[in-house]
């Protein structure tokens, strides 16, 4: 049974429609990530589920119960915000215990001690329980903030870019930990981010949002390999997918309605210039450490692809390109495929 469901929900602020006719259901124990740029309606969606906003239209259902008219405290959700807000005068232990000591809950201190101990071990902060919250590093503080949500056992955790204020290294570590914890506890998480790596590595399913609407919903692999539109295709992948006009490939090479061809690294084969195929010139090779990007000029268009370590290329080289099973898009930007466009929400 779905843990959380949104049924045709809309929400406007003045003349701006932040969320438009959104339907979405999150399964029990699922890690669902909403991905989209600033202003896509991700945070509004979370706030609607939490009860911090009231929808203009539609319903919110949690564990089979319509909660649209309930206040946040009645909804059995836990919210983790982007900026960790800990109580600076309290110890880590007391910060973690705080949600359980709420007068509305009346949890026994013995139970509290057990929960705090469990959660602190899970988050690897059990050595820090006696510390003041202010005596922690940024990563530890964010772990305490996540821990404060975990001590409760709500129907769903709502997380709004909880890792974005951390530096890259910590973010990578906490990404793995959060996924591990979610798997171990079987918790249901709805997680909002604009970071495609977070979405790809943590999500069971990704929902791609754009201008208040859910454009595609599917597993990371589905979204990456079978995007339903050029927009979704451009949200995932580093370097970003190359979208080039179909004329460039020659009209006999592509199906009739195709206007745009999407090329990722795995669709592009580079060989020496004497091989058949369109000719391109290596514009430059960008060394980013583990990711070296080759910038190619194909007629007037630029293509960026991952460098193959076994194929050294340098600026000025002439190469021949071959395209293997690229993605095709029509005039409106929808994908044309033989496999049927799966996963439309």
């Amino acid at each position: 049974m779905a843990e959380v469901a949104l049924i045709d929900v809309s929400k406007s602020y003045g003349t701006v429609e932040a969320v438009h006719g959104l339907s979405l259901s999150i399964a029990d124990g699922e890690f669902l990530v909403l991905l989209g740029p600033t202003g896509a309606g991700k945070t509004t969606t979370l706030r609607l589920i939490a009860g911090l906003e009231r929808p203009d239209r539609g319903n919110v259902v949690i564990q089979g119960r319509v909660v649209t008219d309930e206040v946040p405290a009645e909804r059995d959700v836990a919210f983790v915000f982007q900026q960790y807000s800990l109580y600076p005068h309290l110890t880590v232990y007391d910060n973690l215990a705080f949600p359980l000591r709420s007068p509305a809950r009346r949890v026994d201190e013995k139970v509290i001690r057990r929960r705090v101990q469990q959660v602190s071990e899970l988050l690897h902060i059990e050595q820090k329980l006696g510390n003041r919250a202010t005596a922690l590093s940024g990563g530890e503080m964010q772990r305490v903030a996540i821990g404060r949500a975990l001590v409760r056992e709500p129907a769903v955790y709502l997380m709004d870019e909880p890792l974005s204020s951390l530096d890259a290294k910590l973010r990578a570590e906490l990404r793995l930990e959060l996924k591990r914890i979610q798997r171990e506890l079987g918790t249901t998480i709805l997680y909002v981010t604009h970071d495609q790596i977070e979405a790809m590595t943590m999500a069971d399913r990704i929902g791609v949002m754009h201008e208040g609407a859910l454009i595609q919903l599917g597993t990371p692999r589905e979204i990456y390999e079978r995007p339903n539109s050029a927009y979704v295709a451009s949200r995932l992948g580093t370097p970003a997918i190359n979208l080039i006009p179909a004329e460039l490939l020659g009209s006999d090479k592509v199906p009739p309605q195709v206007r745009t061809v999407g090329l990722r690294t795995e669709h592009i084969r580079i060989s020496s210039a004497d091989r058949p195929g369109p000719l391109a010139r290596v514009h430059w090779v960008e060394h980013l450490g583990d990711q070296n990007h080759v910038h190619l000029k194909l007629a007037t268009h630029s293509l960026v692809t991952l460098a193959d370590p076994a194929q050294p290329l340098k600026a000025g080289d002439q190469v021949s390109l071959e395209f293997a099973e690229p993605l095709y898009f029509d005039q409106a930007g929808n994908r044309i495929g033989t496999d049927g466009v799966g996963g439309r929400a």
Binding site: G138, D167, A168, H194, T201, L288, G289, D290, L306
Partner: protein
Amino acid sequence: MAEIKVETVAKTFGTFAAVKGVTFTVDHGSFFVILGPSGCGKTTTLRMIAGLELPTSGRILLDGEDVTALRASARDIAFVFQLFALYPHMNVRQNIGFPLRCQNYPRAEIRQSVEETARLLKIDHLLERRVGGLSGGDRQRVALGRAIVRRPKAFLMDEPLGALDSEFRRLMCGELRELHDRIDATTVYITHDQLEAMAMADRIVIMNQGRVEQIGTPQEIYDRPRTMFVADFIGAPPMSFLGVQTALRRGDRNIRIDGVPVEMPEVFEDRAEGMFALGVRPENVSFADASQLRGRVIGAEYLGTTQIVTVVTANGQVKARLPSGKAVRVGETVGLTLRPDRLSLFDATSGQALLSTLYEGGYRG
């Protein structure tokens, strides 16, 4: 254009040593990035170059002139903090021209400099627009324009892109670097984001706890990290380390890991028995059934084109970057091969890399 020399500069705040004797030279016209985790002393170092902090000891030279004790305003350096700080009640022209107006430049000269700068940034069509209605990218270009309009000797930038979302940051990285090349400026740029550093820098200095860990081109730092700290800080995911208890002799080309000989670059040092760490980048690890070096797969992270597979061995965890088409099962035992010419060897106690053919520039490519 300017050359900046930082000579054994230190800074203490009370009992806390923020910067402990840092030395580096920023060449004329180069894009120099100071990279390190929060609290490593990078901002303090930049503030001393700007003249916003006085060093406790050491010297700072700008084009050969000792400016250590000069005030910020006497240094002819532009400091760019967050690029978004614009004056909302002024239009684009007034925002860009503001630093010149403050210094009482003649009107005609201000007009000319502002228009030149706007052309450089490709925002000359926006000059009469209010900044409030501009897109994020254009606002940032205006803020940059304000920094470059006086053509100072050097630009200092403190995480100017930190507040942007990742895609936009990538775009601005490219623009900043192009702008730097067009105006031939000397730039010192701080960030904790290694991709930004890799994408823009001519040279990078990596700082840790107030000290310099390594200075070099992005590729040098990535391929030949001098310390385990650098090896671990650079790369996403970072370098993996296999711990080995052994002795080493000059000329060794193999090291035994869990009893299995593993080929590596020739070592140039004699070392007594101790703990060492063999370092390998994820793209230099592959799976080979025949290999005696075994491990168990504990996780795979799907990244689209590639996947990162984590393997536990008797000597530590190894991460491998493999094509995502390769089927990998969690729990299965696999054989690993490590690309021999790309391996680093560290003294696990001091964290320092041992000299080898790789570290002596003996490798090509």
